[in-house]
């Protein structure tokens, strides 16, 4: 009698670059080997990530949309247009136009993090010396802010994929956004992702779709990339923050403590940061 059991298999799909893929095989009595197609898919995925991670500077436009699942299950799509300008090790500018007409930007200048909302004339800043990788992790994990597909901006992007991707396959070759691409489909522990990567040496991602399969309603995040530039001319002024006239500085919402929110205990509000 063949007993079914869950077997977690780590498959090292060693490709030319020595990159690996951790693959989970379930309900299988014997380890499954990565097919040539899967190995090729992983190699292309890693090549795309390695190219981005190794780029000293780049600029790209991102047209993104995502589902917001309402309490009654209705899915509403919101969209945003971003231009991302990056110069390693520590400069990043992400300018966003949201679908509701508001505009904001995020700036890492190697010394601090700044977010700015143009419409409301407010901004928030936090000191953060360090490179882009560290700053992104602090921005998301510490300040609880939002930067979609942030992992793609990190120099550790290939390693992040290695850690997370448990399955990757090639779907088909297809033209998208006017370029021939390889359509890949992969999985992490809780996200299904699809990525369309150009089949030329650049191995550029042109489209990404993320499906949060464990979230209610399985919402998606979708992004199309265009105008990739790997030798853009950045002026240093681009990465310098100058508050708008009359702008107010706010604290990050993450800085509010339990007591400041609820007024429990002997608390007085968590203050500082807001300056009239």
């Amino acid at each position: 009698m063949l007993m079914k059991k869950k077997v977690v298999v780590l498959l090292c799909a060693m490709m030319g670059s020595g990159l690996s893929l951790a693959q989970v095989a379930t309900d299988s009595a014997t380890p499954a080997a990565a097919t040539e197609s899967q190995q090729a898919a992983n190699a292309l995925l890693q090549r795309m990530a390695t190219n981005l991670a190794g780029a000293q500077r780049f600029q790209v436009d991102m047209l993104a949309s995502y589902d917001s699942v309402q309490a009654d299950g209705q899915k509403i799509e919101f969209s945003e247009k971003r231009q991302i300008s990056l110069e390693r090790p520590s400069l990043l500018l992400s300018e966003t136009h949201n679908s509701d007409g508001t505009a904001d930007f995020l700036l890492f200048d190697g010394k601090s993090i700044t977010v700015n909302n143009t419409q409301d004339k407010v901004y928030a800043r936090a000191p953060q010396p360090g490179d882009i990788d560290a700053t992104i992790k602090y921005f998301l994990g510490g300040l609880h802010m939002r930067l979609p597909l942030a992992v793609m901006l990190m120099s550790s992007f290939p390693q992040e994929l290695e850690k997370r991707v448990i399955d990757i396959s090639s779907v088909e070759e297809t033209d998208i956004l006017g370029e021939p691409t390889q359509h890949l489909a992969g999985r992490t522990q809780d996200v299904d992702f699809q990525v369309w990567i150009t089949t030329d040496n650049r191995a550029l991602p042109l489209r990404i779709v993320l499906t949060y399969r464990q979230a209610a309603g399985e919402p998606q995040f979708r992004a199309n990339f265009s105008n990739w530039k790997f030798n853009p001319s950045f002026s240093q002024k681009m990465f310098q923050f100058e508050p708008q006239p009359g702008a107010r500085e706010l604290p990050f919402a993450a800085s509010f403590t339990q007591e400041s929110v609820t007024g429990t205990g002997t608390a007085s509000p968590a203050t500082s940061g807001e300056k009239p």
């Binding site: 010396p129 602090y138 919402a253 500082s272």
Partner: protein, 246 residues
């Protein structure tokens, strides 16, 4: 009895038509008013991880996955559309996963941090010691360590948005709904023992035409006995309910 089925049907159609006409403005208002729809959710963060089930985050957030969904979905709207307070139990759970990181930041307060921040430090240390509350980053402008790296959170889901769930969950999300986009008004309600849902702001992001008070250079917005401060959240400017100024 029903001798004129044709007339009855016609009347029903007319009535139905009137009903549609009468409800149309409401639909239009919702559709073009921009109110009520949450922009949040796990997909909005666009992370390569969805957070999955992080056991410590039971019911504290807005739906980034795992078994939390069941308990969260029912309250999701209220959390997203309303001001609410945090669950102490949730905070306690979150405390463990964040305390070490926060301690690092606490150690890095610089000398130029004003006395208010020092007060906040003291309060946070108190909460750390009794372990009852999640302790998010200290307010203001503490400098994190050089090359600060979220190493203790390097568990493949730091970009999932679940961390945002872990912060001032109800308040922040409620405040997000309290942004200038929020137009409709909802009745105050209490969802459970730990979540107080306030009425959704009719306009301007606050539940009333707030009085503004400036105390120690900090602007407070007051609605009745409740004070608010404006802050910058993941979805932009938000209003955070706070304790009255000292």
């Amino acid at each position: 009895m029903n001798q004129h089925p044709g007339k009855f049907a016609a009347a029903a159609l007319i009535a139905a038509g009137l009903l549609i006409v009468s409800t149309a403005p409401d639909v239009m208002a919702r559709g073009f008013g921009g109110g009520g729809f949450s922009r949040g959710g796990s997909a909005s963060f666009g992370g390569f991880s969805g957070g999955g089930e992080r056991g410590n985050f039971s019911g504290g957030g807005f739906g980034e996955g795992g078994s939390r969904e069941g308990s969260m979905s029912a309250n999701q709207s209220q959390r997203q559309d309303s001001f609410s307070s945090m669950s102490e139990s949730n905070q306690a759970n979150r405390q463990s996963s964040y305390s070490s990181n926060e301690a690092q930041r606490q150690d890095t307060y610089s000398d130029n941090v004003d006395t208010r921040q020092q007060g906040a430090t003291t309060r946070q240390q108190n909460y750390t010691s009794n372990g009852n509350y999640y302790r998010p980053p200290a307010p203001g402008y503490y400098p994190p360590p050089n090359n600060y790296y979220y190493s203790n959170h390097d568990d493949n889901d730091w970009d999932s948005g679940s961390a945002a769930v872990g912060m001032v969950a109800g308040a922040a999300l409620g405040a997000a709904a309290a942004s200038s986009m929020a137009k409709s008004e909802a009745a105050a309600a209490t969802t459970n023992n730990t979540t107080v849902v306030y009425s959704q702001p009719p306009s301007g992001g606050l539940p009333c035409a707030a009085q503004t008070e400036t105390v120690n250079s900090v602007i407070y917005y007051r609605c009745g006995q409740q004070y608010y401060m404006q802050a910058y959240g993941s979805q932009g400017p938000v209003y955070m309910p706070v304790a009255p100024p000292a």
